[in-house]
Protein backbone atom coordinates (compact mmCIF):
# COMPACT_ATOMS: atom_id res chain seq x y z
CA UNK A 1 0.00 0.00 0.00
CA UNK A 2 1.27 3.46 -0.79
CA UNK A 3 1.48 5.84 2.12
CA UNK A 4 -0.48 9.07 1.87
CA UNK A 5 2.53 10.85 3.35
CA UNK A 6 6.16 9.80 3.10
CA UNK A 7 6.63 10.13 6.84
CA UNK A 8 3.78 7.73 7.68
CA UNK A 9 5.76 4.49 8.04
CA UNK A 10 8.28 6.22 10.30
CA UNK A 11 5.52 7.66 12.46
CA UNK A 12 4.08 4.18 13.00
CA UNK A 13 7.50 2.71 13.64
CA UNK A 14 9.02 5.52 15.67
CA UNK A 15 7.64 4.83 19.14
CA UNK A 16 8.46 1.11 19.06
CA UNK A 17 11.98 1.63 17.72
CA UNK A 18 12.58 4.42 20.23
CA UNK A 19 11.66 2.29 23.24
CA UNK A 20 13.53 -0.73 21.88
CA UNK A 21 16.61 1.28 20.99
CA UNK A 22 16.66 3.10 24.30
CA UNK A 23 16.10 0.14 26.62
CA UNK A 24 17.84 -2.66 24.71
CA UNK A 25 20.03 -1.77 21.71
CA UNK A 26 21.88 1.10 23.38
CA UNK A 27 22.50 -0.88 26.60
CA UNK A 28 23.72 -3.87 24.55
CA UNK A 29 26.22 -1.59 22.86
CA UNK A 30 27.25 0.05 26.14
CA UNK A 31 27.68 -3.32 27.88
CA UNK A 32 30.08 -4.20 25.09
CA UNK A 33 31.94 -0.91 25.62
CA UNK A 34 32.10 -1.40 29.42
CA UNK A 35 33.59 -4.83 28.92
CA UNK A 36 36.86 -3.19 27.81
CA UNK A 37 37.08 -0.94 30.87
CA UNK A 38 37.66 -1.07 34.54
CA UNK A 39 34.83 0.79 36.22
CA UNK A 40 32.93 0.66 39.49
CA UNK A 41 29.74 2.21 38.09
CA UNK A 42 30.24 5.88 39.01
CA UNK A 43 33.93 6.83 39.41
CA UNK A 44 36.44 7.28 36.59
CA UNK A 45 36.48 4.69 33.83
CA UNK A 46 39.80 3.26 32.60
CA UNK A 47 40.24 1.50 29.29
CA UNK A 48 41.94 -1.85 29.83
CA UNK A 49 41.57 -3.57 26.44
CA UNK A 50 40.80 -7.27 26.56
CA UNK A 51 42.11 -7.67 30.11
CA UNK A 52 38.62 -8.48 31.47
CA UNK A 53 38.20 -11.26 28.93
CA UNK A 54 41.59 -12.73 29.81
CA UNK A 55 40.64 -12.53 33.47
CA UNK A 56 37.29 -14.25 32.82
CA UNK A 57 38.91 -17.12 30.97
CA UNK A 58 41.40 -17.58 33.81
CA UNK A 59 38.75 -17.24 36.54
CA UNK A 60 38.14 -20.66 38.08
CA UNK A 61 34.84 -19.52 39.62
CA UNK A 62 33.56 -18.36 36.23
CA UNK A 63 34.61 -21.64 34.62
CA UNK A 64 32.94 -23.61 37.41
CA UNK A 65 29.77 -21.57 36.90
CA UNK A 66 29.73 -22.75 33.30
CA UNK A 67 30.27 -26.35 34.37
CA UNK A 68 27.27 -25.98 36.70
CA UNK A 69 25.01 -24.45 34.09
CA UNK A 70 25.98 -27.13 31.56
CA UNK A 71 25.17 -29.82 34.11
CA UNK A 72 21.87 -28.03 34.78
CA UNK A 73 21.07 -27.90 31.06
CA UNK A 74 21.95 -31.57 30.55
CA UNK A 75 19.75 -32.68 33.45
CA UNK A 76 16.87 -30.41 32.51
CA UNK A 77 16.97 -31.69 28.93
CA UNK A 78 16.00 -35.03 30.44
CA UNK A 79 13.68 -33.79 33.21
CA UNK A 80 11.93 -31.18 31.07
CA UNK A 81 12.08 -32.12 27.40
CA UNK A 82 12.26 -35.91 27.61
CA UNK A 83 9.78 -36.19 30.48
CA UNK A 84 7.55 -33.65 28.71
CA UNK A 85 7.67 -35.76 25.57
CA UNK A 86 6.71 -38.93 27.46
CA UNK A 87 3.91 -37.13 29.29
CA UNK A 88 2.57 -35.80 26.00
CA UNK A 89 2.68 -39.33 24.61
CA UNK A 90 0.72 -40.62 27.60
CA UNK A 91 -1.83 -37.81 27.46
CA UNK A 92 -2.43 -38.15 23.74
CA UNK A 93 -2.84 -41.93 24.09
CA UNK A 94 -5.84 -41.60 26.39
CA UNK A 95 -9.03 -40.48 24.78
CA UNK A 96 -10.99 -38.80 27.54
CA UNK A 97 -10.22 -36.60 30.51
CA UNK A 98 -6.84 -35.46 29.25
CA UNK A 99 -7.71 -31.81 29.97
CA UNK A 100 -7.43 -32.27 33.73
CA UNK A 101 -4.02 -33.86 33.50
CA UNK A 102 -2.85 -31.10 31.27
CA UNK A 103 -4.17 -28.48 33.70
CA UNK A 104 -2.53 -30.18 36.69
CA UNK A 105 0.83 -30.59 35.02
CA UNK A 106 0.89 -27.20 33.31
CA UNK A 107 -0.11 -25.09 36.33
CA UNK A 108 3.44 -24.55 37.69
CA UNK A 109 4.40 -22.80 34.44
CA UNK A 110 1.97 -20.02 35.33
CA UNK A 111 3.53 -19.21 38.67
CA UNK A 112 6.26 -16.64 39.21
CA UNK A 113 9.56 -18.49 39.59
CA UNK A 114 10.08 -16.78 42.93
CA UNK A 115 6.90 -18.35 44.26
CA UNK A 116 8.05 -21.73 42.98
CA UNK A 117 11.49 -21.23 44.51
CA UNK A 118 10.16 -20.24 47.95
CA UNK A 119 7.71 -23.15 47.92
CA UNK A 120 10.42 -25.66 47.02
CA UNK A 121 12.78 -24.27 49.62
CA UNK A 122 10.12 -25.53 52.02
CA UNK A 123 9.81 -28.87 50.25
CA UNK A 124 13.56 -29.32 50.68
CA UNK A 125 13.64 -27.89 54.21
CA UNK A 126 15.66 -30.18 56.44
CA UNK A 127 13.39 -29.84 59.50
CA UNK A 128 9.82 -29.96 58.23
CA UNK A 129 10.21 -30.26 54.45
CA UNK A 130 7.92 -32.48 52.45
CA UNK A 131 10.79 -34.53 51.06
CA UNK A 132 12.41 -35.46 54.35
CA UNK A 133 9.00 -36.06 55.90
CA UNK A 134 8.12 -38.41 53.04
CA UNK A 135 11.40 -40.30 53.48
CA UNK A 136 10.70 -40.63 57.16
CA UNK A 137 7.20 -41.90 56.44
CA UNK A 138 8.66 -44.53 54.14
CA UNK A 139 11.17 -45.59 56.80
CA UNK A 140 14.10 -44.24 54.78
CA UNK A 141 15.47 -41.84 57.39
CA UNK A 142 19.01 -42.67 56.34
CA UNK A 143 18.38 -40.89 53.02
CA UNK A 144 17.30 -37.63 54.65
CA UNK A 145 19.52 -34.73 53.71
CA UNK A 146 19.91 -30.98 54.01
CA UNK A 147 19.13 -30.95 50.30
CA UNK A 148 19.99 -27.35 49.49
CA UNK A 149 22.84 -27.15 52.00
CA UNK A 150 24.74 -30.15 50.71
CA UNK A 151 27.21 -29.54 47.89
CA UNK A 152 26.40 -32.97 46.46
CA UNK A 153 22.67 -32.47 46.16
CA UNK A 154 21.98 -28.72 45.86
CA UNK A 155 22.44 -28.40 42.10
CA UNK A 156 20.45 -31.54 41.36
CA UNK A 157 17.71 -30.36 43.72
CA UNK A 158 17.36 -27.16 41.70
CA UNK A 159 17.26 -29.16 38.45
CA UNK A 160 14.34 -31.16 39.84
CA UNK A 161 12.39 -27.98 40.59
CA UNK A 162 13.08 -26.75 37.09
CA UNK A 163 11.77 -30.07 35.80
CA UNK A 164 8.67 -29.77 37.94
CA UNK A 165 7.92 -26.40 36.36
CA UNK A 166 8.81 -26.96 32.73
CA UNK A 167 7.95 -30.61 32.06
CA UNK A 168 4.35 -29.42 31.75
CA UNK A 169 5.39 -26.63 29.44
CA UNK A 170 7.14 -28.96 27.00
CA UNK A 171 4.34 -31.49 27.37
CA UNK A 172 1.95 -28.80 26.13
CA UNK A 173 4.11 -28.02 23.11
CA UNK A 174 4.46 -31.71 22.22
CA UNK A 175 0.80 -32.41 22.86
CA UNK A 176 -0.14 -29.69 20.36
CA UNK A 177 2.36 -31.15 17.89
CA UNK A 178 1.01 -34.69 18.35
CA UNK A 179 -2.46 -33.43 17.55
CA UNK A 180 -1.16 -32.29 14.16
CA UNK A 181 -0.07 -35.82 13.27
CA UNK A 182 -2.68 -37.12 10.80
CA UNK A 183 -4.78 -39.76 12.54
CA UNK A 184 -4.83 -41.93 9.38
CA UNK A 185 -1.11 -42.55 9.80
CA UNK A 186 -1.54 -43.58 13.43
CA UNK A 187 -4.51 -45.78 12.55
CA UNK A 188 -2.62 -47.40 9.69
CA UNK A 189 0.25 -48.26 12.03
CA UNK A 190 -2.23 -49.66 14.53
CA UNK A 191 -3.87 -51.86 11.87
CA UNK A 192 -0.41 -53.11 10.97
CA UNK A 193 -0.21 -54.38 14.53
CA UNK A 194 1.96 -51.71 16.09
CA UNK A 195 1.59 -51.31 19.87
CA UNK A 196 1.20 -47.96 21.61
CA UNK A 197 4.91 -47.77 22.41
CA UNK A 198 5.89 -48.51 18.81
CA UNK A 199 3.41 -45.95 17.52
CA UNK A 200 4.88 -43.41 19.90
CA UNK A 201 8.51 -44.24 19.17
CA UNK A 202 8.37 -44.98 15.43
CA UNK A 203 5.48 -42.86 14.18
CA UNK A 204 4.56 -39.93 16.40
CA UNK A 205 7.99 -38.84 17.67
CA UNK A 206 9.65 -38.77 14.23
CA UNK A 207 6.72 -36.71 12.94
CA UNK A 208 7.15 -33.95 15.49
CA UNK A 209 10.90 -33.59 15.02
CA UNK A 210 10.60 -29.85 14.47
CA UNK A 211 8.83 -29.27 17.76
CA UNK A 212 11.51 -31.33 19.48
CA UNK A 213 14.32 -29.31 17.90
CA UNK A 214 12.69 -26.06 18.98
CA UNK A 215 12.18 -27.39 22.50
CA UNK A 216 15.79 -28.48 22.84
CA UNK A 217 16.85 -25.04 21.66
CA UNK A 218 14.55 -23.36 24.19
CA UNK A 219 15.81 -25.58 26.97
CA UNK A 220 19.48 -24.95 26.14
CA UNK A 221 19.30 -21.17 25.59
CA UNK A 222 16.83 -20.75 28.44
CA UNK A 223 19.14 -22.78 30.68
CA UNK A 224 22.07 -20.42 30.06
CA UNK A 225 19.82 -17.54 31.10
CA UNK A 226 18.54 -19.18 34.28
CA UNK A 227 18.58 -16.98 37.35
CA UNK A 228 15.42 -16.77 39.48
CA UNK A 229 15.47 -20.29 40.92
CA UNK A 230 19.18 -20.19 41.66
CA UNK A 231 19.09 -16.75 43.21
CA UNK A 232 16.19 -17.45 45.55
CA UNK A 233 16.96 -21.05 46.48
CA UNK A 234 20.73 -20.96 47.06
CA UNK A 235 22.22 -17.78 45.52
CA UNK A 236 25.20 -19.82 44.36
CA UNK A 237 25.77 -21.65 47.63
CA UNK A 238 26.64 -23.91 49.37
CA UNK A 239 30.32 -23.11 48.79
CA UNK A 240 29.64 -22.07 45.20
CA UNK A 241 28.14 -25.45 44.29
CA UNK A 242 25.23 -23.83 42.45
CA UNK A 243 26.96 -20.72 41.13
CA UNK A 244 25.90 -20.13 37.53
CA UNK A 245 27.15 -17.39 35.19
CA UNK A 246 24.23 -15.05 35.85
CA UNK A 247 24.32 -15.26 39.65
CA UNK A 248 28.09 -14.80 39.47
CA UNK A 249 27.95 -11.76 37.23
CA UNK A 250 25.11 -10.17 39.21
CA UNK A 251 27.32 -10.51 42.30
CA UNK A 252 30.36 -9.12 40.51
CA UNK A 253 28.50 -6.07 39.24
CA UNK A 254 25.96 -5.26 41.93
CA UNK A 255 27.71 -6.47 45.08
CA UNK A 256 31.38 -5.85 44.25
CA UNK A 257 31.01 -3.02 41.74
CA UNK A 258 33.07 -4.66 38.99
CA UNK A 259 31.02 -3.29 36.11
CA UNK A 260 33.76 -3.83 33.53
CA UNK A 261 34.49 -7.41 34.52
CA UNK A 262 30.80 -8.27 34.83
CA UNK A 263 30.15 -6.82 31.38
CA UNK A 264 32.89 -8.96 29.85
CA UNK A 265 31.28 -12.05 31.38
CA UNK A 266 27.89 -10.87 30.09
CA UNK A 267 29.31 -10.50 26.58
CA UNK A 268 30.78 -14.01 26.71
CA UNK A 269 27.47 -15.43 27.89
CA UNK A 270 25.57 -13.50 25.21
CA UNK A 271 27.93 -14.75 22.50
CA UNK A 272 27.33 -18.33 23.59
CA UNK A 273 23.54 -17.97 23.64
CA UNK A 274 23.46 -16.26 20.25
CA UNK A 275 25.84 -18.77 18.63
CA UNK A 276 23.87 -21.74 20.00
CA UNK A 277 20.67 -20.13 18.74
CA UNK A 278 22.10 -19.54 15.27
CA UNK A 279 23.51 -23.08 15.01
CA UNK A 280 20.12 -24.51 15.88
CA UNK A 281 18.41 -22.21 13.39
CA UNK A 282 20.86 -23.40 10.72
CA UNK A 283 20.40 -27.08 11.60
CA UNK A 284 16.61 -27.00 11.77
CA UNK A 285 16.47 -24.75 8.68
CA UNK A 286 18.53 -27.12 6.54
CA UNK A 287 16.55 -30.05 7.85
CA UNK A 288 13.30 -28.32 6.85
CA UNK A 289 14.74 -27.81 3.36
CA UNK A 290 15.69 -31.47 3.16
CA UNK A 291 12.22 -32.49 4.28
CA UNK A 292 10.69 -30.38 1.55
CA UNK A 293 12.82 -31.66 -1.29
Amino acid sequence: MKATRRATPYLFLGPAMLVFGFAILWPVFMTFVYSFTEWNGYGPMTFVGVENYAKAIGDALFRDSFAHVIFYIAVTLVLEVLVGLCLAGLVSAIRRGSLWFRVAIFTPVMLPMVVVAVLWKFVYNADFGLLNAALKGLGLESLQKVWLGDTNTALLAICVVSGWVFAGFYMTIFYAAFNQVPSEIVEAARLDGAGEWQIFRRVKVPMIRNAITVSVLLCVTGGFQGFDLFYVMTNGGPYGATEIPTTYLVKSVFSFGNVGYGSAMAVILTAIVVVVGLIFARVSGSRAERDLS
Partner: protein, 283 residues
Amino acid sequence: MTTTATTRSRVASRVPGILFSLSLIVIAIVFFFPMVWMVASSFKSNSAIFSTPFALPSSIDLGQWVKAWDVGHIGQYALNSAIVTASSVFAILLLGAGAAFAFSRYRFRGRQVLMGALALGLLLPLQSYFIAQSTLFTDLAITDTRWALIIPYTAMGLPLAVYLLKVYLDALPDELFEAARIDGAGDFRVFWALVLPLLRPGLATVAIFSALASWNEFLLALLYIQDDSLKTIPTGLLAFSSRYVTDYGLLFSALSIITLPMIIIYIVFNKQIVEGITAGSLK
Protein backbone atom coordinates in the same frame (compact mmCIF):
# COMPACT_ATOMS: atom_id res chain seq x y z
CA MET B 1 -13.93 -62.20 10.98
CA THR B 2 -13.17 -58.55 10.52
CA THR B 3 -15.53 -57.60 13.31
CA THR B 4 -13.89 -59.95 15.82
CA ALA B 5 -10.50 -58.66 14.77
CA THR B 6 -11.52 -55.08 15.38
CA THR B 7 -13.19 -55.95 18.68
CA ARG B 8 -10.05 -57.67 19.80
CA SER B 9 -7.87 -54.77 18.79
CA ARG B 10 -10.30 -52.41 20.57
CA VAL B 11 -10.06 -54.43 23.76
CA ALA B 12 -6.30 -54.65 23.39
CA SER B 13 -6.04 -50.91 22.95
CA ARG B 14 -8.33 -50.26 25.90
CA VAL B 15 -6.14 -52.12 28.40
CA PRO B 16 -3.09 -49.87 27.94
CA GLY B 17 -5.55 -46.94 27.88
CA ILE B 18 -6.55 -47.70 31.45
CA LEU B 19 -2.90 -48.16 32.43
CA PHE B 20 -2.05 -44.82 30.86
CA SER B 21 -4.88 -43.14 32.72
CA LEU B 22 -3.77 -44.66 36.01
CA SER B 23 -0.17 -43.65 35.56
CA LEU B 24 -1.26 -40.15 34.57
CA ILE B 25 -3.38 -39.86 37.69
CA VAL B 26 -0.35 -40.79 39.79
CA ILE B 27 1.85 -38.30 37.93
CA ALA B 28 -0.73 -35.53 38.22
CA ILE B 29 -0.97 -36.12 41.97
CA VAL B 30 2.82 -36.00 42.33
CA PHE B 31 2.88 -32.76 40.35
CA PHE B 32 0.09 -31.22 42.32
CA PHE B 33 1.12 -32.41 45.75
CA PRO B 34 3.52 -29.58 46.63
CA MET B 35 0.71 -27.10 45.99
CA VAL B 36 -1.81 -29.05 48.02
CA TRP B 37 0.73 -29.25 50.84
CA MET B 38 1.30 -25.50 50.55
CA VAL B 39 -2.41 -24.69 50.92
CA ALA B 40 -2.90 -27.22 53.71
CA SER B 41 0.10 -25.83 55.62
CA SER B 42 -1.19 -22.28 55.26
CA PHE B 43 -3.94 -23.14 57.75
CA LYS B 44 -1.52 -24.61 60.29
CA SER B 45 0.62 -23.27 63.08
CA ASN B 46 4.39 -23.70 63.04
CA SER B 47 4.23 -26.61 65.49
CA ALA B 48 1.62 -28.43 63.40
CA ILE B 49 3.73 -27.94 60.26
CA PHE B 50 6.67 -29.53 62.06
CA SER B 51 4.92 -32.38 63.84
CA THR B 52 2.37 -33.54 61.25
CA PRO B 53 3.51 -32.35 57.82
CA PHE B 54 1.08 -34.55 55.90
CA ALA B 55 -2.00 -34.13 58.06
CA LEU B 56 -4.86 -32.00 56.84
CA PRO B 57 -5.33 -28.84 58.90
CA SER B 58 -7.60 -29.27 61.92
CA SER B 59 -9.73 -26.36 60.74
CA ILE B 60 -9.90 -23.98 57.79
CA ASP B 61 -9.00 -20.76 59.53
CA LEU B 62 -8.49 -17.89 57.13
CA GLY B 63 -6.99 -15.78 59.92
CA GLN B 64 -3.44 -16.37 58.70
CA TRP B 65 -4.42 -15.45 55.17
CA VAL B 66 -5.89 -12.16 56.37
CA LYS B 67 -2.80 -11.53 58.45
CA ALA B 68 -0.47 -12.33 55.54
CA TRP B 69 -2.45 -10.02 53.29
CA ASP B 70 -2.28 -7.19 55.85
CA VAL B 71 1.23 -7.36 57.28
CA GLY B 72 2.77 -8.65 54.06
CA HIS B 73 1.54 -5.77 51.86
CA ILE B 74 0.45 -8.37 49.34
CA GLY B 75 -2.35 -6.11 48.17
CA GLN B 76 0.19 -3.38 47.47
CA TYR B 77 2.51 -5.76 45.59
CA ALA B 78 -0.40 -7.12 43.56
CA LEU B 79 -1.52 -3.59 42.71
CA ASN B 80 2.02 -2.67 41.60
CA SER B 81 2.24 -5.80 39.48
CA ALA B 82 -1.15 -5.00 37.95
CA ILE B 83 -0.16 -1.41 37.10
CA VAL B 84 3.21 -2.39 35.63
CA THR B 85 1.77 -5.34 33.71
CA ALA B 86 -1.24 -3.45 32.34
CA SER B 87 0.90 -0.50 31.23
CA SER B 88 3.52 -2.70 29.59
CA VAL B 89 0.97 -4.85 27.80
CA PHE B 90 -0.94 -1.80 26.57
CA ALA B 91 2.28 -0.23 25.26
CA ILE B 92 3.42 -3.49 23.64
CA LEU B 93 0.10 -3.90 21.85
CA LEU B 94 -0.14 -0.32 20.62
CA LEU B 95 3.50 0.18 19.61
CA GLY B 96 3.81 -3.39 18.35
CA ALA B 97 0.73 -3.13 16.15
CA GLY B 98 1.96 0.19 14.74
CA ALA B 99 5.38 -1.20 13.91
CA ALA B 100 3.97 -4.43 12.47
CA PHE B 101 1.62 -2.37 10.28
CA ALA B 102 4.50 -0.24 8.98
CA PHE B 103 6.68 -3.28 8.22
CA SER B 104 3.89 -5.28 6.66
CA ARG B 105 2.15 -2.71 4.49
CA TYR B 106 4.72 -0.09 3.52
CA ARG B 107 8.00 -0.17 1.61
CA PHE B 108 10.34 2.52 2.83
CA ARG B 109 14.02 3.29 3.18
CA GLY B 110 15.66 1.58 6.14
CA ARG B 111 12.97 -1.10 6.41
CA GLN B 112 15.37 -4.04 6.26
CA VAL B 113 17.81 -2.52 8.74
CA LEU B 114 15.12 -1.71 11.27
CA MET B 115 13.54 -5.12 10.90
CA GLY B 116 16.93 -6.72 11.42
CA ALA B 117 17.55 -4.63 14.53
CA LEU B 118 14.25 -5.72 16.00
CA ALA B 119 14.89 -9.36 15.08
CA LEU B 120 18.10 -9.14 17.13
CA GLY B 121 15.84 -8.67 20.12
CA LEU B 122 14.50 -12.20 19.59
CA LEU B 123 17.98 -13.62 20.08
CA LEU B 124 19.55 -11.39 22.72
CA PRO B 125 19.32 -12.62 26.31
CA LEU B 126 18.59 -10.31 29.21
CA GLN B 127 22.25 -10.62 30.24
CA SER B 128 23.36 -8.76 27.14
CA TYR B 129 21.86 -5.46 28.27
CA PHE B 130 20.86 -5.37 31.91
CA ILE B 131 24.20 -4.09 33.25
CA ALA B 132 24.33 -1.00 31.05
CA GLN B 133 20.56 -0.59 31.32
CA SER B 134 20.87 -0.33 35.07
CA THR B 135 23.61 2.33 34.89
CA LEU B 136 21.54 4.19 32.28
CA PHE B 137 18.43 4.08 34.47
CA THR B 138 20.45 5.18 37.50
CA ASP B 139 21.89 8.13 35.56
CA LEU B 140 18.43 9.19 34.42
CA ALA B 141 17.06 8.68 37.95
CA ILE B 142 14.24 6.40 36.83
CA THR B 143 15.20 3.54 39.14
CA ASP B 144 12.69 3.25 41.97
CA THR B 145 9.88 4.45 39.73
CA ARG B 146 7.41 2.29 37.84
CA TRP B 147 9.00 3.45 34.57
CA ALA B 148 12.08 1.41 35.43
CA LEU B 149 9.97 -1.70 34.87
CA ILE B 150 7.41 -0.54 32.31
CA ILE B 151 10.04 0.65 29.83
CA PRO B 152 12.20 -2.50 29.77
CA TYR B 153 9.19 -4.86 29.87
CA THR B 154 7.75 -3.04 26.86
CA ALA B 155 11.07 -3.15 25.03
CA MET B 156 11.52 -6.86 25.82
CA GLY B 157 8.03 -7.71 24.59
CA LEU B 158 8.15 -5.72 21.36
CA PRO B 159 10.33 -7.90 19.09
CA LEU B 160 8.15 -10.97 19.41
CA ALA B 161 4.94 -8.93 19.32
CA VAL B 162 5.96 -7.19 16.10
CA TYR B 163 7.06 -10.46 14.55
CA LEU B 164 3.80 -12.28 15.35
CA LEU B 165 1.53 -9.38 14.43
CA LYS B 166 3.38 -8.91 11.15
CA VAL B 167 2.72 -12.56 10.30
CA TYR B 168 -0.99 -11.93 10.91
CA LEU B 169 -1.00 -8.77 8.79
CA ASP B 170 0.98 -10.32 5.94
CA ALA B 171 -1.78 -12.89 5.56
CA LEU B 172 -4.43 -10.23 4.89
CA PRO B 173 -5.28 -9.52 1.22
CA ASP B 174 -4.11 -6.25 -0.33
CA GLU B 175 -7.59 -5.56 -1.73
CA LEU B 176 -8.85 -4.91 1.79
CA PHE B 177 -6.49 -1.98 2.20
CA GLU B 178 -6.96 -0.69 -1.32
CA ALA B 179 -10.73 -0.67 -0.79
CA ALA B 180 -10.36 1.35 2.39
CA ARG B 181 -8.08 3.75 0.54
CA ILE B 182 -10.64 4.15 -2.26
CA ASP B 183 -13.24 4.94 0.39
CA GLY B 184 -11.02 7.86 1.32
CA ALA B 185 -9.40 6.54 4.50
CA GLY B 186 -5.97 7.99 5.36
CA ASP B 187 -3.10 6.02 6.86
CA PHE B 188 -4.10 6.53 10.47
CA ARG B 189 -7.74 5.83 9.79
CA VAL B 190 -6.79 2.55 8.10
CA PHE B 191 -4.81 1.65 11.20
CA TRP B 192 -7.56 2.44 13.70
CA ALA B 193 -10.59 1.28 11.79
CA LEU B 194 -9.19 -1.66 9.86
CA VAL B 195 -5.88 -2.99 11.21
CA LEU B 196 -6.59 -2.97 14.94
CA PRO B 197 -9.97 -4.75 14.71
CA LEU B 198 -8.59 -7.32 12.27
CA LEU B 199 -5.60 -7.98 14.52
CA ARG B 200 -7.75 -8.82 17.54
CA PRO B 201 -6.89 -12.54 17.78
CA GLY B 202 -3.19 -11.81 17.34
CA LEU B 203 -3.35 -9.03 19.91
CA ALA B 204 -4.99 -11.39 22.40
CA THR B 205 -2.19 -13.93 22.00
CA VAL B 206 0.47 -11.26 22.39
CA ALA B 207 -1.34 -9.82 25.41
CA ILE B 208 -1.34 -13.18 27.19
CA PHE B 209 2.33 -14.00 26.92
CA SER B 210 3.41 -10.40 27.49
CA ALA B 211 1.23 -10.20 30.60
CA LEU B 212 2.64 -13.41 32.06
CA ALA B 213 6.21 -12.35 31.30
CA SER B 214 5.74 -8.96 33.00
CA TRP B 215 3.82 -10.40 35.93
CA ASN B 216 6.55 -12.96 36.65
CA GLU B 217 9.71 -10.99 35.78
CA PHE B 218 12.21 -10.99 38.62
CA LEU B 219 15.80 -9.97 37.82
CA LEU B 220 15.14 -6.41 36.63
CA ALA B 221 12.57 -5.86 39.36
CA LEU B 222 15.18 -6.95 41.88
CA LEU B 223 17.79 -4.56 40.51
CA TYR B 224 15.70 -1.46 39.84
CA ILE B 225 13.15 -1.34 42.68
CA GLN B 226 14.36 -0.95 46.27
CA ASP B 227 11.34 1.01 47.51
CA ASP B 228 9.05 -1.53 49.17
CA SER B 229 5.89 0.37 48.20
CA LEU B 230 6.74 -0.09 44.50
CA LYS B 231 7.74 -3.75 44.56
CA THR B 232 5.93 -6.23 42.35
CA ILE B 233 4.81 -9.68 43.47
CA PRO B 234 8.07 -11.60 42.81
CA THR B 235 10.35 -9.16 44.62
CA GLY B 236 7.67 -8.35 47.18
CA LEU B 237 7.29 -11.99 48.08
CA LEU B 238 11.05 -12.28 48.45
CA ALA B 239 11.10 -9.28 50.82
CA PHE B 240 8.19 -10.81 52.73
CA SER B 241 9.94 -14.16 53.04
CA SER B 242 13.06 -12.57 54.48
CA ARG B 243 11.01 -10.50 56.95
CA TYR B 244 8.96 -13.45 58.26
CA VAL B 245 11.63 -16.04 57.74
CA THR B 246 10.44 -18.34 60.54
CA ASP B 247 6.67 -17.77 60.46
CA TYR B 248 6.02 -20.67 58.12
CA GLY B 249 2.24 -20.68 58.34
CA LEU B 250 2.21 -17.03 57.33
CA LEU B 251 4.59 -17.64 54.44
CA PHE B 252 2.51 -20.55 53.21
CA SER B 253 -0.54 -18.27 53.38
CA ALA B 254 1.20 -15.63 51.28
CA LEU B 255 2.25 -18.24 48.72
CA SER B 256 -1.30 -19.58 48.57
CA ILE B 257 -2.81 -16.12 48.15
CA ILE B 258 -0.55 -15.52 45.16
CA THR B 259 -0.91 -18.98 43.66
CA LEU B 260 -4.63 -19.73 43.86
CA PRO B 261 -5.89 -16.84 41.70
CA MET B 262 -3.41 -17.81 38.99
CA ILE B 263 -4.62 -21.41 39.04
CA ILE B 264 -8.23 -20.21 38.74
CA ILE B 265 -7.33 -17.86 35.89
CA TYR B 266 -5.55 -20.72 34.21
CA ILE B 267 -8.45 -23.14 34.56
CA VAL B 268 -10.87 -20.60 33.10
CA PHE B 269 -8.67 -19.43 30.21
CA ASN B 270 -6.50 -22.51 29.76
CA LYS B 271 -7.02 -22.74 26.01
CA GLN B 272 -6.05 -19.14 25.30
CA ILE B 273 -3.18 -19.24 27.77
CA VAL B 274 -1.68 -22.42 26.36
CA GLU B 275 -1.99 -20.97 22.87
CA GLY B 276 -0.43 -17.70 23.96
CA ILE B 277 2.46 -19.27 25.80
CA THR B 278 3.32 -21.77 23.12
CA ALA B 279 3.09 -19.10 20.39
CA GLY B 280 5.27 -16.91 22.58
CA SER B 281 7.97 -19.52 22.91
CA LEU B 282 7.94 -21.01 19.42
CA LYS B 283 9.53 -17.91 18.01
